[in-house]
Symmetry: C3
Subunit: 155 residues, 3 copies
């Protein structure tokens, strides 16, 4: 099944490509790989949330952050599709690195970045299985709670 059919079956509309915040491009094709820029959970030009992830007052709950990471994956898919000639050119996922702006005691970064990994599994099946790092950082651009970068493989 093609990626576009799979997206339709899952009821996922690919978002518009998020314009870069600065002097770079959303995704670059080199050889049979597509490298995306670090993706923020933006929809229609605005972050879905801001702040640090953790438990407690004024923090972003982990469950919310997991949904944000899913949005990062969809934004990455849109960027990779635009750079490579369409989403059906993408064959799978090689590598994901997830950065979680974390309260000092928050150690659940893997669960947060699962929001990205799991939607890629739904879309690509076994070809969506990727190597991954998830780390906690002190602060991210625009005070985003998460930033995730991706390497896709071309068909």
């Amino acid at each position: 099944m093609s990626v576009s059919q799979r997206l339709a079956d899952l009821g996922i509309d690919l978002p518009d490509v998020v314009p870069p915040l600065a002097a770079y491009v959303p995704a670059v094709v080199h050889g049979d790989l597509v490298y995306t820029a670090g993706q923020l959970p933006m929809v229609a030009g605005a972050l879905l949330a801001t702040g640090k992830v953790g438990d407690g007052h004024a923090l972003v709950p982990a469950a919310d952050a997991t949904a944000l990471a899913r949005q990062c994956a969809l934004n990455a898919l849109a960027a990779a599709a635009a750079a490579s000639g369409g989403v059906d050119r993408l064959a799978g996922v090689v590598k994901v690195v997830g950065f979680v702006a974390s309260a000092p005691e928050f150690t659940g970064q893997p669960g947060v970045i699962n929001g990205a990994s799991e939607v890629l599994g739904e879309i690509f099946g076994d070809a969506g299985r990727h190597a991954r790092s998830a780390v906690g950082v002190s602060v991210l651009p625009l005070d985003s709670p998460v930033e995730v970068e991706f390497v896709f493989a071309l068909a």
Copy 2:
């Protein structure tokens, strides 16, 4: 000399592959490279230590963290070997990124990640020479003091 012979000469038993904490795989082969997930210093399912690296009460000393980074490298080698058909398929190391959960004043991240780099040099010789980044982060999954990801080259 094969990698397996070199490991035997060094008295290094390759550990079992550490199962992923989440929805990803320990290593992915693409082309002639093997990308590993971020490796934590786990042995038999448990972290060897937790906490932040630095000097002072309740911190993980840099020397201890260096040994943890070495364990990350061995875990990565096991993961890459399992993904690629055996440790003797691995020809060398291309890239290492090391994340050190750091007390705010701790700036010795390169020395810590040397624990990974040096054991790869012992195992692969000149082919183990890699490009590397080492950074300090606020917190890592499960409160691990270090997390290191690797790109190996296949023979």
Copy 3:
């Protein structure tokens, strides 16, 4: 126009390669890519500045940090040129990851890492357009305000 001519036109003298702080190499060629180590803003063996980036007393202003990121890019170019047989072997830039040692409230990491991205654009033109991540971290090696790693493409 060759990269060396372009550097001359821009009045940029490529710096000496910064020796690694530890057990790794400044850059590795694999296939048609050159992976650099994380570059610090060193000139003649010393950091140009130390500390965290942000607004306020004892912090490194964002504008200063942007200039530091530019130096990281030039150091990377020198490292990649030395590893690959000369700067004219380099055809473009694929990927940049920028780490900014950030005060907790500082969210302008993209602007800082523009210092690296923009000089690469000046040197390589369209071929310098790269995918990029920029994140804030708590502390960097030697208390450097920025560390940036690069993947260049060979001609």
